[in-house]
C-alpha cells in the first residue's frame, strides 16, 4: 500500500471518527432527556401526561421511519441554516444527529423501563421527589444498559456516516465510493473495509468493557 493511500485512509478515518463521535455526543444530549421524558410521561409513569407521551412517541417514530439517505437530502436546507453549508464533515453531523437522537432515545427508553419498579417505590417511600427517582434510581441503575445502547448507536452511526459520504461529507464512505468504486481501486476498497471492521470491533469492545464493569453483579469482579 502506498504512502498516498495510507494518508488518504488516515484522513478519512479521522473524519469518520469526528462525525461519529460528535453526532454520538449529540444523540446522548438529545436522546437521553427525550427517553426520560417518554418514560416519565407514559400512562404508568411517575408524571403521567398521556397526550405529551403519545406526541413525543409519534415524532420519534416519524423521524425513525425516514430512511437515512432520504433524511440527508431532506435536511439540506436545515443543515445550511445551522452550519452555513450542506457539504463537508461538519455539515454531515446535523442529519446524523437528527437521525441518532430518536434512535438512541428508543434504545435508552427500553433500558430505563427495565429498572425494577420496586426500586422506584423504595426511593419514593423514602420521601424522594420524582427528580430524585430519576437521579438516584433510573439513570444509575440503567447505566450499564445505556452504555450498551450507546455502543449500538455509535456502530450504527459508523454505517450512516459512510452514507453521508454520498453527499460530500468526507470520511471512509466517501473514500470508498470515489476511489474504490468509481476508480476501481480495490486496494482502497479493502483498506476502507478493514478500517471499518476494526473501528466497529474496537467501539464494541470498549462499550462492553464499561457496561460490564458497571454492572456489579459478578462477585468475582466487583470490589
Amino acid at each position: 500500500m502506498s504512502r498516498l493511500i495510507l494518508d488518504l485512509l488516515w484522513r478519512a478515518t479521522a473524519e469518520t471518527l469526528e462525525m461519529v463521535l460528535a453526532s454520538g455526543a449529540l444523540a446522548v444530549a438529545g436522546g437521553l432527556p427525550l427517553a426520560v421524558l417518554l418514560v416519565l410521561t407514559s400512562p404508568a409513569g411517575l408524571y403521567p401526561l398521556p397526550l405529551l407521551s403519545r406526541l413525543l412517541g409519534g415524532v420519534v417514530d416519524a423521524v425513525r421511519a425516514v430512511p437515512f439517505i432520504i433524511l440527508l437530502v431532506l435536511l439540506i436546507p436545515f443543515t445550511r441554516m445551522v452550519v452555513g453549508t450542506a457539504l463537508g464533515t461538519t455539515a454531515a453531523i446535523v442529519p446524523l444527529s437528527i437521525a441518532a437522537i430518536p434512535y438512541f432515545a428508543r434504545i435508552a427508553e427500553v433500558s430505563l423501563r427495565e429498572v425494577d419498579t420496586g426500586l422506584v417505590d423504595a426511593v419514593r417511600a423514602m420521601g424522594g421527589t420524582r427528580w430524585m427517582v430519576v437521579r438516584y434510581v433510573l439513570l444509575p441503575e440503567s447505566l450499564p444498559g445505556l452504555i450498551s445502547g450507546f455502543t449500538v448507536t455509535l456502530v450504527t452511526l459508523v454505517g450512516a456516516s459512510a452514507m453521508a459520504g454520498a453527499i460530500g461529507a468526507g470520511g471512509l464512505g466517501d473514500l470508498a465510493i470515489r476511489y474504490g468504486y468509481q476508480r476501481f481501486n480495490t486496494t482502497v476498497m479493502f483498506g476502507v473495509v478493514a478500517v471499518l471492521v476494526a473501528l466497529v470491533m474496537a467501539l464494541q469492545a470498549v462499550g462492553n468493557f464499561f457496561a460490564h464493569s458497571l454492572r456489579h453483579t459478578n462477585p468475582g469482579r466487583a470490589e
Binding site: 423514602m126 420521601g127 470490589e223
Partner: protein, 326 residues
C-alpha cells in the same frame, strides 16, 4: 398516644373493592401484625400506609397528619417519617452497601460528613459494618434484608413498615431477621407494622394482630387468641353444631402437657370412662410451649366423663357436636 390511626379506609381498583372500611389504630412503640392470604388486600393496605397509594375514602393519620388527602409536596416529606422494608429488599445495585444505607439521608438533605457517621452506626446495629464497601449482589438474602432494615431506619422514622420482610428468606434467616426487628422495637421504641402470610412470623413478632380477608378485617386481637381460633377452625369438622342432637358425638378439646401425649392418655381415659375416644388432631398451644391441645371425638359424653377428663388434663372444653357417623 396513637401514632397511626386508620379510619374507614376504602380502596378499589376499577370498581373492584380491594379494601373495605378498614379501621384500626397503632399505639406508639407497638408491634402490629397484619396477616392474610394473597389477594386479601395486604399489599394494597401497605401501599396506602406508606403513602405510595391513596385510598378513595377514609383517613390515615400519621402523627396527626392525614396521608389520604395531603398534597403531594407535603406527602413527600411525611414519607420520610416512615421506614419501609421490602420482601425483595429493593437495594440499588449501582450503589455500595454504605451508599444504599445513606440514600434516605441524602434524600433528606443531610450533609455528607454526618451521613457517613450515621451509616456506620446503622451498619453496626445490623452487624454488617465490615461489608460497607461491597455491592448488594455480593450479599446473601439475609444480609440484604439487614441492609434493607438499616436503610429503613436511617432517617430516624417514626414508623417501620415491613412488607413480607421474611417471605423470601429461609426459616433460620427468618428467625434472625425477626429477632433483629424485635430488638429494634425494644431498644429504639420504634413502632412496627408488618404484613405477612406466615403464622409463625405473627406468633413471634406481633403484639396485636389484624386478620385481613377479601379486603376486610375479619378478626383482631392478641396473636394467641387469633391463632388459636384459626388453627382450631382449620381442623374441626365442617358440620359442627353448637347444640347436641340425639345420639350425636361431642368434640372435646383437652389441654394436656406435652409429656402426657406420649403416655397412653387416651387408653387410660377409655378404660376409666368405659367409652371410646377418637383422636382428631393435636395442636401446639400458642400460649404455653410445654402444652398441647388435643381434639377428640367421643360418643359417651357424661358428667362422669367430663370429670375424668378434667382430672387428667389441664383443661377440658366441649366445643361442639357432630352427627355420630361423621
Amino acid at each position: 398516644m396513637n401514632l397511626l390511626e386508620v379510619e374507614r379506609l376504602n380502596r378499589s381498583f376499577g370498581g373492584q373493592p380491594a379494601l373495605h372500611d378498614i379501621s384500626f389504630t397503632v399505639a406508639k412503640g407497638q408491634r402490629l401484625g397484619i396477616i392474610g392470604r394473597s389477594g386479601a388486600g395486604k399489599s394494597t393496605l401497605l401501599r396506602c400506609l406508606s403513602g405510595l397509594d391513596r385510598p378513595q375514602s377514609g383517613r390515615i393519620l400519621l402523627e396527626g397528619e392525614d396521608m389520604a388527602i395531603l398534597p403531594e409536596a407535603k406527602l413527600v416529606l411525611l414519607r420520610r417519617r416512615i421506614g419501609l422494608v421490602f420482601q425483595h429488599f429493593n437495594l440499588l445495585n449501582s450503589r455500595t452497601i454504605a451508599a444504599n444505607v445513606a440514600l434516605p439521608l441524602q434524600i433528606a438533605g443531610m450533609p455528607k460528613a454526618g451521613r457517613s457517621k450515621r451509616v456506620m452506626e446503622l451498619l453496626d446495629l445490623v452487624g454488617l459494618a465490615d461489608h460497607a464497601g461491597k455491592y448488594p449482589a455480593m450479599l446473601s438474602g439475609g444480609q440484604k434484608q439487614r441492609i434493607g432494615i438499616a436503610r429503613a431506619l436511617a432517617a430516624h422514622p417514626a414508623l417501620l413498615l415491613c412488607d413480607e420482610a421474611t417471605s423470601a428468606l429461609d426459616p433460620e434467616t427468618t428467625q434472625t431477621i425477626l429477632a433483629l426487628l424485635a430488638d429494634i422495637n425494644r431498644v429504639l421504641g420504634l413502632t412496627v407494622v408488618f404484613i405477612t402470610h406466615e403464622m409463625d412470623v405473627v406468633r413471634s413478632l406481633a403484639q396485636q394482630v389484624l386478620v385481613l380477608e377479601k379486603g376486610r378485617i375479619v378478626s383482631r386481637g392478641k396473636p394467641a387468641d387469633i391463632l388459636d381460633a384459626n388453627q382450631l377452625a382449620a381442623v374441626l369438622p365442617p358440620n359442627l353444631s353448637q347444640t347436641p342432637q340425639d345420639g350425636s358425638h361431642a368434640i372435646v378439646r383437652l389441654t394436656v402437657t406435652t409429656q402426657a401425649v406420649f403416655t397412653s392418655l387416651l387408653h387410660t381415659l377409655e378404660q376409666q370412662c368405659q367409652t371410646s375416644f377418637t383422636l382428631l388432631h393435636t395442636l401446639p398451644n400458642p400460649e404455653r410451649e410445654e402444652q398441647v391441645d388435643v381434639v377428640v371425638q367421643t360418643g359417651g359424653l357424661s358428667v362422669a366423663t367430663m370429670n375424668a377428663l378434667q382430672a387428667h388434663a389441664c383443661a377440658a372444653e366441649v366445643i361442639g357436636y357432630v352427627p355420630a357417623h361423621s
